[in-house]
Symmetry: C2
Subunit: 342 residues, 2 copies
C-alpha cells in the first residue's frame, strides 16, 4: 500500500538557517530570504521555520555556496555566477553576457531543461538549487567620462566582476573587483573611472550620479540574472515531502515577485536619478559588437577546457538562439513600438 | 493570546471544484488548473482537494465568472477580459490593447497596486482573483491576403473579440465572434478573411497556415494577457489561513511557469509553422499607429461613461507610461540588440 502523504502537523519541527549574499540595505534582493521564510512557515503551520541572515552575519556574502555545501547553514540565497572562480559552469544558473533575459531564464530553467542540468552540476557541491528572483536587465554602470567608441575604453579602470570583467579586459579596459561600499569613494577620487552595480533602484542608494554622471545601458553582461536558493542536499533529503513542496513553491513565488518589484520600482528611481544629474547614454554600437565577439570567444575557450561547461553551453546556446528568433517576432516588436502620436 | 496558526492536518477536509475557460486541447492554458490542484493537495497533505474541469464540462468556457460568483463551483481559471460585456473594467486584470507586457502586468498586479484595485472591483461579483499565467505577447493572427496598409483592412471580416474587435471596427474591418473550433472552416471557405488566436504553440494545433498563410505580428491587442484564478469570496473566507496561503502561492507558481512554458515551446512551433508554409509579416506602421489612436479613444470614451473603469485607468495609464519609459532603456535595448557578426 502507498504511504500516506506527510502532513505538516504530523511532520517534525524543523529549524533552518538561511544565509544571504545580500545586505539588508539592498532590500529587494535581501527581501527574498524573509519572504521565503514567511511563506514556508505559513504553509506548514509554523512547523518549518527558516531564520534568514544577511551577508556577513554568519558568513560573507560570497561564501554562501561554501556554507551551504559544508552544512554550516541548511540553505542560502545567492547568485550562481559568484562562484565562477570555482567553475565557470556556475554562471548558467544566473546568466551570462549576451545571454538570456529574465523571461528566457525562466523558460530555460523551468521548461527548457536548464534547472535539471544545473542541478546535475550542483549535485557535486551537495546542493540543490531553486530559482529565486531576477533583477531584469541591469544597467551598464556609471562612467566619469563619456565613452563614445571602443577606443575610449582603453586603459580605463572599471569596477566589474566575473565574465563582464573578462570582456572589459579583452576590450582594453582594466577590470577591478571592489566591494559595494568602496565603490563611491573610488569613483569620487578617480581611482576608478567607472563602476557597474545593478539598476536604478539599487544604484540610487549609493549616489553614484554625484561622482560619475554618465549612466550607460544596457548592462550587456547581465541581461537577466537569476538569483538562487541553494539548499544543502542532505538537509533537503531529510525533509518531509510537504515541506519540500512548501520550499519549492515559495521559491517560485519569490522568483516572480522579485522581478515584479524591480520592474515596479525602477522607473521612479530612474526619474529621480535623472533629476539629480544622471545622464543616460546607450553603449556605442562598436562596443556592443566587440563585446559580443569577445563573449563568444570566452564561451568557445571555456568549452574547450571544461567539459561541464561545454555540456550545458551546447544546449543553452541552441535554446538562446531559438529564444531570440522568437522574441524578435511578437514580444520585442510590441515592446519596441513607440506610437508616433506621442 | 494569539490564536495558534491553523495546521493543514488539523484543518477540515475541503473538496472544491474548479471550472476552466479552456479545453484540454489548449494544454498550456488548461494545464494551469491541474497544476494548481496538485500543488495545493501536496501542500496540505491531501486535505484540500480541488478537482479541475475543462470548459463545457460544468459550464461553458465563458461562464466561469458567473459560475464562481453564484457558487456553482468554488473557483475557476479564466481571463478577465472575457467579461468586458458586463463591465469594461474586467479588462485591466487580463490586459488591454497597447497595454502592459507580461513582465509589466506582474509589476502592476504584485507591486503597482493593480491586484488590490482589481480585487476591489471584483468584490462586487463576490470573487477574489489571483494572477494565474500569462501567454506573453500574442501573435496578430492569420490573414488570407497581405494587408499592406490601413486601406487594405476596409471591409475585411476578422475573427477578433473584445477591445481588439472594437479597434478593428474603428479601422474599417468587420470583427466577428467565432468559437475556436469554427475558425478553420470559416477561413477555408473565405467566410472570414482573417482570425486571431493565441501564438505559435496554440495556433499550430488548428492548422491555420494551410488556409491563411500570412501570419502577422504583434498582436497589439494582447501585449501580455494575464490569466486569473477566480475564487468565490464566501468559499475563500471559510478556508483556514494555511489553505489560503497554499492557494495563493500555488497560483503565483502557475503564473510564472505558464509564461516559461509558452516561451519555451513557441520557438519550435513557429519554426514548424514556417516550414509548413506560414509567412511572417509585421503589421504596417500606419495600421499600428491608427490602432493605437483608436485604443486611446476607446479608453477616453469608456472613462467618461464608467467611473469604475476611469478610476483604474488613471492609475494604470500612469504606471504604463512609467514602465515603457524604463523598459525602453535597459530591457528593450538589450532584447533588441542583434549582433552584426551574425
Amino acid at each position: 500500500t502507498a504511504a500516506a502523504p506527510a502532513l505538516a502537523a504530523d511532520g517534525p519541527s524543523v529549524r533552518w538557517r538561511l544565509t544571504s549574499s545580500f545586505p539588508k540595505s539592498l532590500d529587494a534582493l535581501w527581501g527574498a530570504a524573509p519572504q521565503l521564510a514567511k511563506r514556508v512557515s505559513e504553509l506548514t503551520g509554523g512547523k518549518f521555520e527558516i531564520r534568514p541572515f544577511a551577508a556577513g552575519e554568519i558568513v560573507p556574502g560570497l561564501q554562501v555556496l561554501d556554507a551551504v555545501q559544508r552544512g554550516t547553514v541548511e540553505c542560502g540565497h545567492t547568485a550562481g555566477y559568484y562562484y565562477v572562480g570555482k567553475d565557470a559552469t556556475f554562471a548558467f544558473e544566473a546568466g551570462l553576457p549576451f545571454g538570456l533575459t529574465a523571461r528566457q531564464q525562466n523558460a530555460w530553467l523551468y521548461h527548457g531543461g536548464g534547472l535539471q542540468m544545473t542541478r546535475d552540476f550542483l549535485k557535486e557541491y551537495n546542493v540543490i538549487n531553486f530559482p529565486g528572483g531576477n533583477t531584469g536587465t541591469q544597467m551598464g554602470g556609471w562612467w566619469r567620462k563619456e565613452v563614445k567608441n571602443l577606443n575610449d575604453l582603453k586603459g580605463l579602470k572599471v569596477r566589474i566582476p566575473g565574465f563582464g570583467g573578462k570582456i572589459m579586459a579583452a576590450l582594453g579596459a582594466v577590470p577591478q573587483t571592489i566591494a559595494g561600499g568602496d565603490i563611491y569613494p573610488a569613483l569620487e577620487k578617480g581611482t576608478i573611472d567607472a563602476a557597474e552595480w545593478v539598476g536604478p533602484y539599487d544604484d540610487e542608494k549609493l549616489g553614484f550620479q554625484k561622482v560619475a554622471k554618465f549612466y550607460y545601458y544596457p548592462g550587456f553582461w547581465e541581461p537577466g540574472p537569476t538569483l538562487s536558493f541553494y539548499i544543502n542536499l542532505d538537509a533537503w533529503n531529510k525533509l518531509p515531502k510537504s515541506y519540500q513542496a512548501a520550499l519549492e513553491v515559495a521559491a517560485a513565488e519569490v522568483n516572480v515577485t522579485m522581478t515584479a518589484e524591480y520592474d515596479a520600482k525602477n522607473p521612479a528611481a530612474l526619474n529621480r536619478l535623472i533629476q539629480s544629474g544622471a545622464q543616460l547614454r546607450i553603449y556605442p554600437r562598436d562596443i556592443l559588437d566587440a563585446a559580443y565577439k569577445e563573449a563568444e570567444k570566452l564561451y568557445a575557450d571555456e568549452s574547450k577546457n571544461n567539459a561541464r561547461f561545454k555540456k550545458i553551453f551546447t544546449s543553452w546556446n541552441r535554446f538562446r538562439n531559438d529564444q531570440n528568433n522568437w522574441f524578435r517576432v511578437a514580444e520585442n516588436s510590441m515592446a519596441s513600438y513607440i506610437p508616433r502620436s506621442k
